[in-house]
């Protein structure tokens, strides 16, 4: 596992506050495994907002629109998705990268455009932890 539950728990309260501020919802409604789009009504513009707010809150640098790119890893784009549908190899990468997402939330076939529907507050906890790790290395 990329990060321990203890590491996730350490950043989650602040991440939840940031999400509640960005989405205008009650912080109590922000659960670690809520779907940001389906459960908390987030839209694509909210993800951009979230990233900026997280950068401010945690004083880290988070590259824009990188979650899907990071999920793909060294897999070529054509091997990750074809005609907008995530390939079998791509799905393996995605399930592993988004290990926090319950298995039944992945679609079959999974549209690449719908990947953000899988994002949860825990996904963004991991984004913050990765950014902190990168900052430490630099």
């Amino acid at each position: 596992m990329e990060f321990s539950q203890q590491q996730i728990d350490a950043v989650f309260p602040k991440v939840a506050e940031v999400i509640a501020d960005a989405l205008g919802c009650d912080v109590a409604d922000v659960k670690l495994d809520s779907s940001l789009i389906d459960d908390l009504d987030a839209e694509s513009i909210d993800f951009l907002d979230l990233v900026f707010r997280l950068e401010r809150a945690f004083k880290v640098k988070i590259p824009r629109g990188k979650i899907v790119e990071d999920a793909r890893g060294d897999l070529a784009e054509a091997d990750f998705e074809q005609k907008g549908i995530v390939t079998e190899a791509g799905m393996q990468r995605l399930r592993s990268f988004l290990s926090e997402v319950p298995a039944d939330r992945f679609n079959s076939p999974q549209k690449a455009a719908d990947i953000p529907r899988l994002f949860t507050p825990k996904t963004f906890c991991k984004v913050v932890l990765r950014a902190q790790k990168t900052a430490q290395v630099a």
Partner: protein, 279 residues
Amino acid sequence: MGGRYGAFTFCDRITDYVPARRARATFAVPPKLAEFSPCLTAEATGQLAAWVAMAHIGFRGRPVAALAHDVRMQSDVRPGETLTLEVEIEECDDNAVFYQGRAHVGGREIVRLIDCLGPMLPQDEYDSADDLAREFALLCGEGAPSGRFDGIGPHAMETIDASANSRSARLHVPVTAPYFVDHFPRRPVFPATLLLDHAIRVAADLVDADVANSAPLRVAQVKNVKMRDFIRPGEDVLLRVTRMTAGDDGPRVKLEATIGDRKMATAQFAFAQAVLEAA
């Protein structure tokens, strides 16, 4: 006058420009206007940030108003006065521009923009990159002629519902309007700042009852502006404003703008008592 770069472009000359970092510009508010709203001053400031951002990426993309975390509306600019617009670009690339800005008249602050973000969209869909590059060169050089803006009258709005704690009004976005020439030539979009201008009128109508016997209220702060989708010419937008818990200085109101089931925009307005200025 009006026309391209006159109908909805609020910059006469860029007087200081550090690529991708900051810019300062002037815009003379034509004396012929009845008013120049704080929302238009915010638009002017945002447009300066857009010029810097577009120039940085060779005009292949253009930012659109999407997020403004905090807009402070301190006072009004009077027709005949010249605005100084200043922007600091914190981050700018092919994906988005993130900036701070302010507009003032001789140091009297009119509007301050805090933490604004505009995603970049493909320029070709909205405008001509070559035209914009030429206009930018003009603005950075001798400047464009001032006084081209003819003003924008209020659009048709009808109240749908009114109670002590909320108002709903339907805003009819015109099919044609002079500002669509600038916003944008290839794909007309109703400007977010005009939407906010009209929403503030609805919100002001809601809170006006609070101050029946004292100084009038003016919107002092617009927070958490989030434009979620484009509004096209001819569309009807439902503006619903609802009271929130009042702040220290006055009432606060939240806005939700919708078209059918689509949420188009959200924002919050904080009102404060107007300070009456000596004439």
